[in-house]
Subunit: 317 residues, 2 copies
Amino acid sequence: MNALPREFSLIERYFRPLAGPGALALTDDVALLRPPPGLDLVLSADAMVGGVHVLLDDPPDLVARKLLRVNLSDLAAKGAAPLGYLLTIAAPAATPDAWFASFAAGLAEDQHLFGLSLLGGDMTSTSGPFSLSLTILGTVPPGQAVLRKGAADGHGVFVSGTIGDAALGLDVLQGRLADPDGHLVRRYRLPTPRLGLKLADFAAAAMDISDGLVQDLGHLCRLGGVAAEIDTALVPRSEAACAAGPQWLSRCLTGGDDYELLLAVPPAAEDRLAAAVARSGIPLSRIGRFVPGPPAVRVRGPDGQPMHFARPGWSHF
Amino acid sequence: MNALPREFSLIERYFRPLAGPGALALTDDVALLRPPPGLDLVLSADAMVGGVHVLLDDPPDLVARKLLRVNLSDLAAKGAAPLGYLLTIAAPAATPDAWFASFAAGLAEDQHLFGLSLLGGDMTSTSGPFSLSLTILGTVPPGQAVLRKGAADGHGVFVSGTIGDAALGLDVLQGRLADPDGHLVRRYRLPTPRLGLKLADFAAAAMDISDGLVQDLGHLCRLGGVAAEIDTALVPRSEAACAAGPQWLSRCLTGGDDYELLLAVPPAAEDRLAAAVARSGIPLSRIGRFVPGPPAVRVRGPDGQPMHFARPGWSHF
């Protein structure tokens, strides 16, 4: 019998070891899943393209981990727990084995860290840069998923972690900024999905920040039919981001790739939020509030004056 | 408030109308699905790249329908029923609105035909050709999914429809072959997922033929630990494929893109298969049988002699 073509040996060597329950060892057309009874399924799909979301020469293991974490961040923003994922890879035919080996090693590391496994996927060639797509499945108790819709007048605007590091990290990699201790680049290459919070206990609306704080906050406003006011003095920024200087503030607020949580929290729930912060160790900061009025995001700058932005966030088109 | 960037207006205009239950109108990070109780979930993901799986100038509505049907064919090959899908699109930033309009119109048509809807996805730019990825979800009664593993000595080898049309259709589009009535090109551009058969009633193993009959039959052999013998005189070919002449036979058997069913059927189940054919109108033909021996596919040519192939099917790498 003919030897199997390289496509199959790549799958067998690098991806089969990642396959979990239901994946049928990646030997079938499909994965089979008996859904955990009494839970809702949460599904999300994100694409990642070389030269767009990650640099073409980014280390493949970090590309893989970022792809997985970007999707895990979508689950985190609903208060869901990870279950499994499907992955499609379109890569140049000349991609060396070492690239796939490193890519799969990155997936293995994060599968172990976050407790999920590969269910299936597809691998194809392309004449363009590598183009990845990951569909993630998670679970949440029925009715406990926190949606983007739900922000109301009087709710506080909260974010997790620090804002702007990843956008500045890209600027570092592209030679526009220095990063003495590498913090910004690490944050660009490896976001931290904020899994493990029971968001339904305290958040009325939630999403993760992927396209820039100002633009993404606009989504919560639009769906809630409210405006938001935030104060840049309250927006948490890392030491490295602050050291870049005040001229980078605007970039931090609109640059994207943060994968931090953005929440609307009713005043009565702030105690429960504080308890969740204490329990989880995930920092959550109040940066402003939702107010009545047509959907709009108003940003108070360091001088107390309103800030305006050429574009509030990232768009591919 | 700033106008939303084009990415969001594309989603709103062309993709939101495709969103079904659980999709949250494509306004959230995720889709929410309460799994139908008492059924297993069947999941599959396939990628499709411009210039690889479809031609760059193929009509966008047919590209969309082929992408959906290729995934529906994976469900069909397990005896599963469609439920919904997630879609990621990486497209050149200069892609005109008309391309997206036509693409979405194709999806709308096939969603209606096959009874499923869009659950979510992502849209990004790429410097390369368009790169699509679709994850499909289906359902099957518990334990009723027919796997690739299960072929045994004495089972018949069956295929649905006709074999080789799509591969020849690509040859037509690339100027190597004539196609007076357009049948071959139609079969290349628009496969027919063979949904609706209760495969578990009569098939011991099943898959769909995507990479060429000979190569894909090799997968059933490998997983079953058996060999297969097929007779080219029994392999159903369309009038158009036969008219191309005997020199195209080998291409029909190895060219791929058929999206027809390939089944292992125990002799005792052939009556039930015949009844299913009569009920469904889906033609199934016996082309050979599984025999003892190490995994191998033996093909008897028109002259009664064994045929050999430079490569048994398609591989991307």
